[in-house]
Subunit: 320 residues, 4 copies
């Protein structure tokens, strides 16, 4: 069903998200290439790819037959972004965030990537009254708008997240980003939908797919799992089963033809094995989607018949 | 600071939300009128006001000097709405929902009310796969759009809610309703912002005020409190203090000049006393807003200085 | 695997929990008897069985080959319990709660039931400072202790619940009830473990089984499902799959030989169909438990190998 | 009201919890000593105090008039504890955890500290089926028991936490630790109650105080604040007001005479200023406790009168 399978290269950094350095990128790519179903990778600028290693990374990807799916600007890790990136009250921080966004686009062109996953992780607040929300909105629109206008035609999928690392993020849900996109009036600002982030935002992830696709704004997909309160980035289908089934069902039904990218953070496990397990679980979910009795499901949905729908769904999950 | 103070008349039904009948409306209005600061009431059609008691209700309001703030269509209690109102797969249910919406507008004109609080409480789903989300969106846009076009010029404040009575609501957050409003392209479709619902949706309620006001779509406000997981509709400022302080701060700062309406459900307490306590707490919060050192707060916010902001805020709350 | 299957008779009241009356008990039993796998029922005193209908209920159960699993005292619905039952500050309310508990035991003897599910739903508080917690604990120990000493030898499974109908319950988790049991020093005070309540209390329900069984205090089990925030009492395995799998795995592994009782509240569905679906899902989960590769699972657990454990688990769920 | 005020020295590490090294301990103590109300510090072994710097730390504390409140074994940061400390399946890890516990006690004697805060942060699990819960319980009882028997007479306050860094902790609530203490039958195993952890476990922190004090097991207190979902360790009284008010009210009422220790993690703020603000807020809360009309509060609680209780409470918070 889905053949454009990729990982965020950060998923391979078993010792934690924040310790990534660009130095090991080629080695990580070589490790990733051992994952049989893998066809692409998402890279972070300047964490994984940067001015120093661009050629080496490009060569390695070609040699390993890995497509570069996206180049994503790291607008969170540098201490300059501690109180915000696009929304920082420091002009220097905002300038750097915009530059990172523009450079990520430049690198994407160089590497043949068609989109950017933009996670404005530091744009939000920790404490009540800490900031003026209207100012945050103005600055967010301004900064993201500037990047998007520079990268005209390049799909910018904003990855919303309810919280973490800030106490509360400004762009906290699918609806908020779709609203922002309409405010900006820019076709190339859409959503990179992270399954686990949808759970954190108390969304039904399948419904979020539909909402994004109706707006023509689903530019990328990250998959993983969590318990619903914090973003553990666990292996896919480790905690939830019917929620990812519905997610993939709607991706298929609505004609999403982009990449499905793993975004996991195995802290106590071998990351390659964790990716392989996640892809095996994806294959299991795809088979379960295929086992859904679509004719009867339509019948169930035509009268909101939850019992019939559940029977069909559990037949598909359990195989009988 | 706020003088347009009202209650949802349902707040007086101590035996629970669902047992309201229109029969006792005049008695409830008389009881409500004893609340000294009260200037208005929100009424539900046909629960509180209907074809039978319209004149009596109108007379009582005039006699008691109570303005009718809104007439809100009850699109949730009738069993016909069990699987949705505007989004039901039953054409009869949808028709009834639209009719209720239109009639509520007619009654509002009759009673001099300038707006409607529209809570589509049954529009959502309980179980995964129970319904087709795209169909739900189409039907929601169609039904709400029809009411809004009929009630041209009349402010329709949609009250979003994350869940309850359904497992998940379609219109689940401030952003979702603002997005819906842009989809509809209708000026008179906005938000009735319920403080407790904002908490359930994991929003910062002050930020929600700002977001709505920036879109010019804050049509009404309900206040109450809860623990964050379920909509207990508790007395104002019983659980949270800094969150409602920030909420009222931003209502004032952004120039909101509409009604502040109590929406509480005292189950084990005398409802009149519970309303009076809530209004006393509102007065306490207003005084605390006035105690905020605005000049220093601006200074704090200009650099996202959370420690300074907190010092100012706790001085204002505790009075020193 | 599990053959002692029952339902709480309240699961058949499609119009909601609170409207049950004893009048329709025989009809409900006749409806329940159509559920093929069903062998027992839990009854509430005086809601389902009482002084008026005891003989009729007894005869019906015999005629329909339904064992009475438990008689559970309704210490929540009478308005006298509005501010607590065993912990009410009203001596009359406390007396009534204890009497209900004792009478439920008397009826159990009459009906051949070996245990009681005791849900002290009103024992808790809504607002901070509303009550003195030490007094609540004293009264809870006193009242439950009196019932337990009266019903010596009769298993009293306390059903803890985090919240609802009160803002917070006193007996809010498995650990709290096990602690209470040790405080009382009474062998017959244990737990009726409700799967959905364990989710609400943020427990891993399988771990709760183990904790209760280690203390020798697992007296009964209720199954259902929910989203984790409110007690929707949904059909089993509608939302979660791996959590109930692990729950049944540990019930089996630890040698639980009591009843498995459905406790669901289908509000918009036919309740008999909802029970049948839940039992079909139970059978699916039992088969999945049987598909677990136990030898490899032990190997995985011997080194906390989460990836191997997940592979085994998803093979068992999806059938491959 | 409370004069034994301390901080966990880790609160001063503005760059994050995990980067602490023992090297800077004296400098941190000197910084801490500038906080006027401060009388004590909690130290972590071997993070802050260890075989190399014991004399230097001891001298610095004497010179700066800082009492050492506790020495807490770091059974979480060493990679050997990645899959558990006391509950690890690796005998070497368990041995190291026990040794750390014993050595922390030895250091406490040397430094004149009367207790230990023991946070078994890695003892739990991430994924369902990853471990055998009965084995986890056996190992937890064994390891903690061994430390407690070695440190006879020394108060070991276990700091429970619902989750983080593991997906779920074994010792997840006040009730669970009190149950463990009864299982062990050791007088010196009790609770170090962290206000924020009580929030994470969905407890009413005041009720947790009462529960611990009734068992005679409240050995230490950590204060901070959070939003309820993750352990942000924010400044005290930044998010919640009535909850910490009730917490301090019950600490006072039940006669707690131990230390009140700040456990905060200012990531984007100056840590000394954040501590000072927290202590100012503590003083504000103490004054509010003193403003409570105790006579009327008793009257309110004698009939669970929530409205009267709230009036008293908000008078005390707002000062009128």
């Amino acid at each position: 069903m889905f053949s454009r399978l990729s990982i965020g290269l950060w998923s391979l950094d078993a010792s934690g998200y924040w310790n990534n350095t660009g130095e090991g990128t080629v080695k990580k790519l070589e490790a990733a290439a051992k994952i049989k179903v893998l066809r692409g990778v998402e890279l972070i600028y300047p964490t994984h790819v940067n001015e120093e290693n661009l050629t080496a990374v490009k060569d390695a990807c070609r040699r390993l037959s890995l497509e570069v799916v996206s180049v994503n600007p790291n607008v969170w890790a540098d201490p300059i972004f501690a109180r915000g990136a696009f929304t920082s009250r420091s002009a220097a921080a905002r300038k750097k965030a915009v530059e990172y966004g523009k450079t990520a686009f430049d690198f994407a062109k160089e590497l043949g990537a068609g989109r950017m996953c933009l996670w404005p992780g530091q744009d939000g607040f920790d404490y009540p009254f800490q900031d003026d929300y209207s100012a945050l909105w103005d600055l967010s629109l301004e900064g993201i708008g500037e990047v998007a206008r520079y990268a005209k035609g390049h799909k910018i999928g904003i990855e919303y997240k309810f919280h973490e690392p800030r106490g509360q993020s400004l762009l906290d849900s699918a609806s908020t980003v779709l609203l922002l996109s309409r405010m900006l009036g820019l076709d190339n600002v859409g959503i990179n939908l992270d399954f686990g982030h949808a759970l954190l935002s108390k969304e039904n992830p399948g419904e979020s797919v539909v909402k994004c696709m109706r707006e023509g704004k689903l530019f990328g997909v990250h998959v993983n799992d969590n318990y619903g309160a914090t973003d553990e980035d666990m292996t896919l289908a480790s905690i939830h089963h019917v929620a990812p089934l519905e997610f993939f069902y709607y991706l298929n039904k609505t004609g999403y033809d982009g990449w499905i990218s793993l975004d996991i953070a195995p802290r106590r496990e071998d990351p390659i094995s964790a990716c392989e397990l996640s892809f095996r679980n994806l294959a299991r979910l795809e088979k379960a989607v295929e086992r859904l009795d679509i004719a009867r499901l339509k019948e169930a949905q035509a009268s909101s018949d939850s019992l019939l729908a559940q029977e069909i769904v559990n037949c598909a999950i359990f195989g009988a």
